[in-house]
Symmetry: C2
Subunit: 346 residues, 2 copies
């Protein structure tokens, strides 16, 4: 009896305390702009309206917390992808180590081409075909244990610098998108990266860089093989065997494989994200599909070829994608107009 | 100034309230046995000691919350797998619908064999080879949209009953293991299913049955193909293409693909879980690897062939696995001795 009574009092105090906390939080949230680096405009409004519609109890578009999944492309959506994807820079800069271990490769393409590029002949990079890149990826990022790969990538990320900003690549994330990640998480969303980049590569820094843990990174993934070291310790070796090509239609396929739920919100910046945005938007209720347009040559880069911007093979945003976005209610974010600041270090 | 002052008072109240909540929770937890369906013994003690060692701040084996990953095999570890895996029963019982759509299959093995089994010739089940099962799986569980598969599986699960207990299969989960799942989650662990069963199948009921959401189910997985319906709506079709065989060495490989972290605790019951337990235990610090031994013929089933129990092809627990467990510190759970109750409905 006494225990029961003590329990009721405790329960009562806990309820009151919880209500207090709730009231305090609502109060604080109402006063704070969750997206301070965004200019007022349709993009910012769309994000805030979406979050309010899907998280307000009683709203017709309320989404229960377990279903609050938001997916983000990485290259060009969360961080800089020009003039070349960061992971491609990693692969190129690992080539000297590979050639040191196997000197006979120094005179064989594509390794010889990469050595020219690294010596300063930047134009030689254009000689590399997709097939070359796959060969370089296999040579630099497979045939080793998962732990060795992680250690090598981590070391490179700590030392390498983007040539324009002279900063580590992991500092070249877009502050407005970091705010969106945080705002969604504070609203009960789980944020996932869904990238054409290598899943194991992105997982090395995703937690520190974006607050996104490894299990919430979906990327292009190769197989691993379970085996044993000489002293009998088990480990996984990265194999040159493609399991998931997480680009284009591979994005919704990868989302089904790794998450098993359709996202409620999705963010991308190129034709490689088209199907993910389409798949997200095709679900019931309120859905948010957004595309970052790189139209700020001064503060970052400008490329499309949508809207007459420069054409590019890295993060292509075609006019067809722009027109489809308008037709289907996917919202285009103009870096130039919608973002007050691009980087935290500005 | 006034705002700042109001803020400090709010912050103060929040801190006091949080401490109150914490004290209340610690008080409640100290008084409650987290594993009431377990008899006192080495298995129960190992679980509680492990949780305390890994979650007590300042403990040399403290594991930070983001790294608290626990993986569970499903068949035979979380629910009944004898006389036959539930998903195999599903596949067999879907055959009449497949034959109805394609009547020419009625006289072709393995479809004809399954029709005999369903008519009551249970012995005919022995005629089915692994190749047959793969063919049946493809015929019953691929070539349809993800949503159609989910609806069919959900309907079957709501209607089908285990012949011995006359209850839905989803009620045949082990209460002591449900307690372990809840205890680990209450201690900041994320619980994952890592099953040889079909990932899409298990995801249909994992949240309602175990409190494990779809994104925390790793299973044998096939590919999907993104496409469009006649009215242009995008959807994913399940394909008969194996991406991950989540058995044996496939379990650590699947864990790396889907989670990207080594588990701190792992639970299994057969040779198919050996590598997962080994991989888990090979990590640094406190690690928990446990195996459920089915040694209770009266309340459930008894099979091994470890410890002289009946041999079986469904959930084989060999003497070699038993000996390895003893040697490597993997703890064997005796259903007979360690579990007070097996099912919640007892």
């Amino acid at each position: 009896m006494r225990l029961l009574k003590a329990f009721s009092i405790t329960a009562c105090i806990r309820t009151v305390a919880a209500l207090f906390l709730l009231a305090a939080c609502v109060h604080v949230q109402a006063q704070t702009d969750p997206l301070p680096s965004w200019n007022d405009g349709p993009a910012k409004k769309a994000i805030i309206d979406f979050v309010q519609a899907t998280t307000t109890q009683g709203s017709p578009n309320f989404v229960p917390p377990p279903e609050r999944i938001a997916t983000f492309d990485q290259d060009g959506t969360l961080w800089v992808e020009h003039p070349m994807y960061t992971q491609v820079m990693y692969v190129l800069e690992r080539v000297p180590a590979v050639v040191k271990a196997k000197p006979e490769l120094a005179k064989v393409a594509p390794f010889s081409t990469v050595l020219e590029v690294l010596k300063g002949d930047r134009a030689a990079i254009a000689k590399l075909t997709e097939k070359d890149l796959i060969e370089l990826l296999a040579a630099t990022s497979t045939g080793m244990s998962v732990e060795t790969f992680q250690a090598e990538a981590k070391k490179w990320l700590a030392e390498a610098k983007d040539p324009r900003w002279k900063k580590p690549y992991t500092e070249l994330t877009y502050l407005p998108m970091q705010e969106v990640l945080k705002y969604l998480r504070a609203s009960g969303y789980r944020t996932y990266i869904v990238t054409g980049g290598g899943q194991d590569f992105v997982r090395v820094y995703s937690e520190a860089t974006y607050g996104i843990p490894p299990e919430q990174v979906v990327g292009t993934a190769g197989g691993t093989k379970y085996g044993y070291s000489k002293d009998g310790k088990p480990f996984l070796t990265k194999e040159p065997k493609l399991l998931l090509n997480d680009n284009n239609a591979g994005k919704p396929e990868g989302i089904h494989l790794m998450i098993g739920r359709r996202p409620v919100a999705a963010f991308g910046n190129s034709t490689g994200d088209r199907q993910m945005l389409e798949y997200t938007k095709a679900g019931d209720g309120a859905r948010l599909s957004m595309l970052v347009l790189h139209d700020d040559a001064k503060r970052e880069y400008a490329y499309g070829p949508a809207k007459g911007l420069r054409d590019t093979k890295v993060g292509t945003f075609t006019q067809a994608l722009y027109d489809e976005a308008a037709k289907k209610g996917w919202i285009v974010i103009s870096m130039k107009d919608d973002w007050k600041k691009i980087f935290a270090f500005e």
